[in-house]
Symmetry: C2
Subunit: 123 residues, 2 copies
């Protein structure tokens, strides 16, 4: 899977209002995570639909899950999310830096520039 295909898959996973809201809740919640039912309640998503969406996000590597009693706790995959955002604007105007204005995201070092130790995912 090419880099672009991998990134497109992640974007595609988030390109749905329900899933975006899920990711947002998980990002807000931080590393402690949120159980599936805690997500489904406020967002008003049926249980099976919730599973569908969470699996899509998990398959794209954007969320992780662990079991805790009868609950399944989901957490955002922060590294992957940061990778993603960095990719989107991380190479602004490399072909013509001198023509880019002061708001260019690469004009000053950003804390977004992190590297993970993960290899490429093989579907």
């Amino acid at each position: 899977m090419s880099q672009d295909e991998l990134i497109a898959k992640k974007l595609s996973a988030m390109a749905h209002p329900a899933r975006l809201a899920i990711v947002h809740m998980l990002v807000k919640a931080g590393p402690q995570g949120v159980s599936a039912s805690q997500l489904g309640g406020p967002l008003d998503i049926a249980a099976n639909a919730l599973t569908f969406h969470l699996q899509k996000l998990a398959h794209a590597g954007l969320v992780e899950s662990r079991r805790s009693g009868r609950f399944v706790i989901y957490t955002a995959a922060f590294d992957e999310l940061l990778n993603l955002t960095n990719y989107l604007v991380g190479s602004c105007c490399v072909d013509s830096a001198e023509k880019c204005g002061p708001r260019c995201p690469t004009s000053e070092p950003s804390p977004m520039h992190i590297s993970t130790s993960r290899g490429e995912q093989n579907d």
Copy 2:
């Protein structure tokens, strides 16, 4: 259109390898932009397919176009892209900041936090 729907639309627009490659080329090119044929050539996309993809991106507000002679020059909508990336990780662990680690993207101010003067888009 809700905030989530608007963001989902933008993500959806980029959730395709060809469109992602287009955005990447435009971001790399900076404000000067690139003509449609200059995009289509290297990416090996048929002219009509290219139009399809560019329109999807334009409709999501991620690219802008202007005519220059017989060419149509496309540029990335940098503000919108930055808005987008900021949205994705901009509210990390607001519900439990103390439990988030040092890599939390909100743990130090980021140059990504910009505000635009644009109102909400009404489709």
